[in-house]
């Protein structure tokens, strides 16, 4: 199946319902139906979002370079902080899960030894580790990264195990017939055959990491998007809360689009995928 080329008409159709909702929302705010502290008008949210995005200080040539100034806005600092935690936490979690999953998938003995423990730990949601993570790592980035790594670890692990175990026997036979064994078999046959599963694990893992980063920032860190929207609540800045939520949504969307691109590139050989 081939995706239809981008069409303005379809994009336009997709925008009708959101536009109507926003218009209704704006009308409700303008006509004073809703207390603005409960739900500010969309224009107020956009105003806040722009203020949140722009640098706090005016540009001062003496203070240094322009780019550093341009990204000194609170929103950008928060977004980069959150992204940084997701990146580091995910890299650690997936970095540990991938080799372990490959070993557990490929070797029945490793699987028998470790699977019971994995099954025992897997149902514990990463959020349940919050108290322990603060006890162990204090406040700041370390507990957040720990929780994110944990959130990314299990999806990647489970899918890697499944991916290696489901490799079609016909590929193994064909490869053995061509003389493959040991490391060549693993790197050139088993691993690529498992990639579709592994990537879907990566995708779930990043999604979990993104949830966990927001939660952990609300609890253990004093910057980042999760922290900011919780902080805004204390001042009844509902416009800033919504601006922060929209940013979280945009960031999630960007990560998803990037993952999709990576997926399509790595699986360009796979049946049923677009080029």
């Amino acid at each position: 199946m081939r995706a239809a080329a981008f069409s303005w008409q379809q994009a336009g159709v997709g925008l009708v319902v959101p536009a109507l909702l926003i218009a209704l929302w704006q009308a409700a705010a303008t006509l004073g139906w809703i207390n603005p502290q409960v739900l500010p008008s969309p224009l107020a949210v956009v105003d806040k979002w722009i203020a949140y995005l722009l640098p706090l200080q005016p540009y001062d040539r003496a203070a240094g370079n322009w780019l550093a100034w341009a990204v000194s806005g609170e929103l950008i600092v928060d977004a980069l902080g959150s992204l940084y935690r997701v990146a580091v936490g995910f890299a650690i979690g997936a970095g540990l899960a991938l080799p372990l999953g490959l070993a557990m998938g490929a070797n029945a003995r490793v699987y028998r030894w470790l699977n019971p423990l994995v099954q025992l730990l897997r149902p514990i949601p990463p959020i349940a580790y919050i108290p322990l993570s603060i006890l162990w790592f204090g406040l700041g980035n370390p507990p957040a990264v720990f929780l994110i790594a944990l959130g990314a670890f299990f999806p990647v692990l489970m899918n890697t195990i499944a991916g290696v175990r489901q490799v079609d026997g016909i590929y193994l036979r064909a490869a053995r017939n061509l003389g493959a064994s040991g490391p060549t078999m693993f790197v050139r046959v088993i691993l690529p055959a498992a990639v579709p599963y592994i990537l879907s694990g990566v995708r779930i893992g990043i999604g979990t990491a993104f949830i966990v980063v927001i939660v952990s920032e609300m609890i253990a860190v004093n910057n980042g998007l999760g922290f900011r929207i919780l902080e805004a609540r204390e001042y009844f800045w509902s416009d800033k809360i919504i601006a922060g939520m929209i940013t979280i949504g945009l960031l999630g969307l960007a990560i998803d689009i990037a993952m999709n691109k990576l997926n399509n590139h790595l699986l360009r050989w796979h049946r049923g995928l677009e080029h």
């Binding site: 016909i170 036979r173 017939n177 061509l178 003389g179 493959a180 046959v189 360009r268 050989w269 796979h270």
Partner: protein, 264 residues
Amino acid sequence: MSAHIHIAGVGKVFPTAGGEMVALRGIDLEIPQGQFVCLLGPSGCGKSTLLNAIAGFAPPTTGTITAAGRVVTGPGPERGMVFQEYALFPWMTVADNIGFGLHIKGQPRAQIAATVDRLLAMLSLTDFRHRFPKDLSGGMRQRVAIARVLALDAPIMLMDEPFGALDALTRRNLQDELLRIWSELHKTIVFVTHSIEEAIYLADRIVVMTYRPGTVKRDLLVELPRPRDPAAAGFNTLKRELAQLVMEEQQRHHHDELRMAAVD
């Protein structure tokens, strides 16, 4: 080099829930170098089991198989296998699939590229070298699978109903291609099929197998001149004769299924 296949007293028993199933019993075959042999029979006659035993994927329960002077104990590069399901590696391009065996052997890159180029040309695949298997038709995929085996220059080619999934036209096309390659490269070919016409069109020798346990029912040489014409009288005489033999086994298969259904 005595690149022939020597099959002595080969039997194969599979354990099943309802006791042991004898797939092969007392198979003796001598296949001289360069002979094109078709194993013919209905499904369940053990022809694929025998081929897998020659390939070294599933060792026989009794008896021995010697190929190219060595006793078969596992898969080996002197016995290239072409599967019905193609079994191309979908994550490799056509060129990488063909070169994979040589890559495993540790051949230098330039040499692999030269062999791959030659095989691409031989099988009319040059325009497809950078494609992935998913972008190819069934016939094209099977060409790649044949090229992949030829790359290793195995003296023996084992083919498990390789053209079974192809439409009639593509099938004839590939049969002709295979005959051309065979006459050029003098391979020993063991080819499994359940198509009588395919067997007569291709083979020097046809081994008809019985249904369960698989034994040799008839072992005959095809003396018809090549290229063979499926419309010729000699072709059809042989076809009728073989059809009679295969039908007998097919009926035993059928009775067996009825009996099994009755037991259930």
